[in-house]
């Protein structure tokens, strides 16, 4: 899902990072958000809504709409569209409202 050829832009990706998505090993790049890295890997469903448990993806990508919230390193309600990916992160889909431990 990554763009390799572009007439105007060149994409300089940072170093490769490893993280897990629901326990599965995944790869992304330094400098990209969690939601971007997941989308590049073909993951569009980031969680389930709180009432009807319908699938949720991101919508605004600027940290405003809360549609992209996931559990990151055990912490719920992380806005993955504006949170940078880090080496070794554990990312999980969130079903409904997050529970703060």
């Amino acid at each position: 899902m990554r763009i390799t050829k572009h007439p105007i832009l060149t994409f300089e990706r940072g170093r490769e990072l490893s993280f897990t998505f629901n326990g599965q090993p995944m790869k992304g790049y330094e400098g990209e958000t969690i939601a971007a890295a997941l989308h590049a890997a073909g993951v569009k469903e980031l969680g389930k809504s709180s009432e009807m448990h319908r699938p949720r993806g991101f919508y605004c990508a600027i940290g405003n709409c809360a549609s992209c919230q996931m559990i990151v390193d055990g912490e719920p309600n992380v806005r993955t569209c504006i949170t940078l990916l880090r080496e070794g992160m554990s990312v999980e889909t969130q079903n409904g409202k997050g529970r703060i431990k």
Binding site: R2, T33, E45, C60, G63, S67, I82
Partner: protein, 360 residues
């Protein structure tokens, strides 16, 4: 509690220009930016700007962000840019509460505040409009132009205004198929120069069309569209199905200015400016002295007018703090003139009407 002279909320075109303008007069500025990257929506705009030289016409948005950030550096410690810092509250004593890195929570008291918080993409009501694969046009632009990631393989664009048409063209530049662009209005809203580019590339622009429903289980698989009559009611029997994995919603933006409402600034719903906006003076000052607004937060326009408003608000906010440059009046009229030019002609008619209603 930290005390600052001028607090600017938002580092998009309006916020950056306001900071440069105020610092050049001598004011000390702190800019809060909720993202990890400054520049607001400029960073994803690969098209060249219209307008005049003073708003960087013929530069691409992404390059303008770079130019403004370079300029910011010229003022050294007079401008501090704080990233990953969201302003979450704005109180009577001009205290702004900030959440930094999702961890630290602290207060800042400012002598003057410029709210340059921008806008948010509107959604559209239709069955299954919440499926993954249905994104704001700006979100798709971020994904492909900032991160270099394809939003999908085949896109249906809803909205034939400037953003819808420009993003459709950018999708094709990135090698992604655009099945069609639709708009409920009977005419294309975008500038003809943008729309004809798409038409030349063979993308149908379906006016008087809307989305009837989205289809998909875990994510979008198809969208059904239909024609609408002159009162925007769907016409039965005109349904068409598009097998697409991305539906891009570009039906306009709403101003983001809850902080000003929370502070008690007088607000008004102004349809011409696309939502609830603060009442303000010619100098972008709200009904509370020392609190200013600039850019899309004051009504939806373009980045060019956001920059001009930013310069004006920064100049006037600094002057109120006691930093009026010798050529204050000359600069003030220059920015007002730029805004008048940007809002001139038939295209600016709505904005001019909105400005009149929202003027204190």
């Amino acid at each position: 509690m930290r005390e600052v002279e001028l607090l600017i909320i938002g580092s998009g075109p309006a916020g950056l220009c306001a900071a440069i303008s105020a610092a050049s007069s001598g004011a000390s500025v702190l800019i809060l930016e909720r993202s990890f990257k400054p520049g607001g929506q400029l960073i994803k705009q690969t098209h060249m700007f219209f307008g005049s030289e003073s708003q960087y016409a013929s530069y691409r948005g992404v390059d303008i962000a770079g130019i403004l950030l370079e300029k910011l550096k010229e003022y050294g410690e007079r401008i501090e840019l704080m990233l990953n810092a969201t302003a979450v509250g704005f109180y009577e004593d001009n205290v702004v509460t900030v959440l930094k890195d999702e961890k630290e929570y602290f207060k800042i008291r400012a002598k003057s505040v410029i709210c340059a918080t921008g806008a948010f993409e509107k959604s559209l009501a239709f069955p299954n409009n919440d499926l993954p694969g249905i994104y704001g046009a700006g979100a798709v632009q971020t994904l492909m132009n900032v991160y270099g990631i394809r939003p999908g393989n085949r896109v249906l664009m809803v909205g034939a205004g400037n953003i819808g048409v420009i993003v459709s063209y950018q999708l094709m530049q990135a090698g992604i198929e655009v099945a069609a662009v639709l708009d409920a209005a009977p005419r294309i809203g975008a500038y003809l120069v943008h729309a004809s580019k798409l038409a030349r590339m063979g993308v149908p622009i379906l006016t008087s069309h809307t989305v009837k429903e989205a289809i998909g289980k875990d994510c979008l698989e198809a969208a059904v569209v239909c024609e609408v009559d002159e009162r925007f009611n769907p016409i039965p029997g005109t349904e068409k199905r598009f097998d697409v994995d991305v539906l891009c919603i570009s039906v306009g933006l709403s101003p983001l200015n809850e902080l000003l409402a929370m502070r008690g600034v007088e607000m008004k719903y102004v349809p011409q400016l696309s939502g609830s906006v603060p009442m303000r003076s010619e100098n972008c000052e709200t009904c509370i002295p020392g609190i200013f607004v600039a850019g899309d937060a004051s009504g939806i326009e373009e980045a060019s007018s956001a920059m001009a408003e930013g310069y004006l608000a920064g100049l006037c906010a600094a002057a109120k703090l006691g930093y009026a440059p010798e050529d204050f009046e000359q600069r003030r009229s220059e920015y007002l003139k730029q805004l008048e030019d940007l809002r001139s002609g038939p295209v600016g008619e709505r904005i001019r009407a909105g400005m009149k209603i929202s003027q204190l």
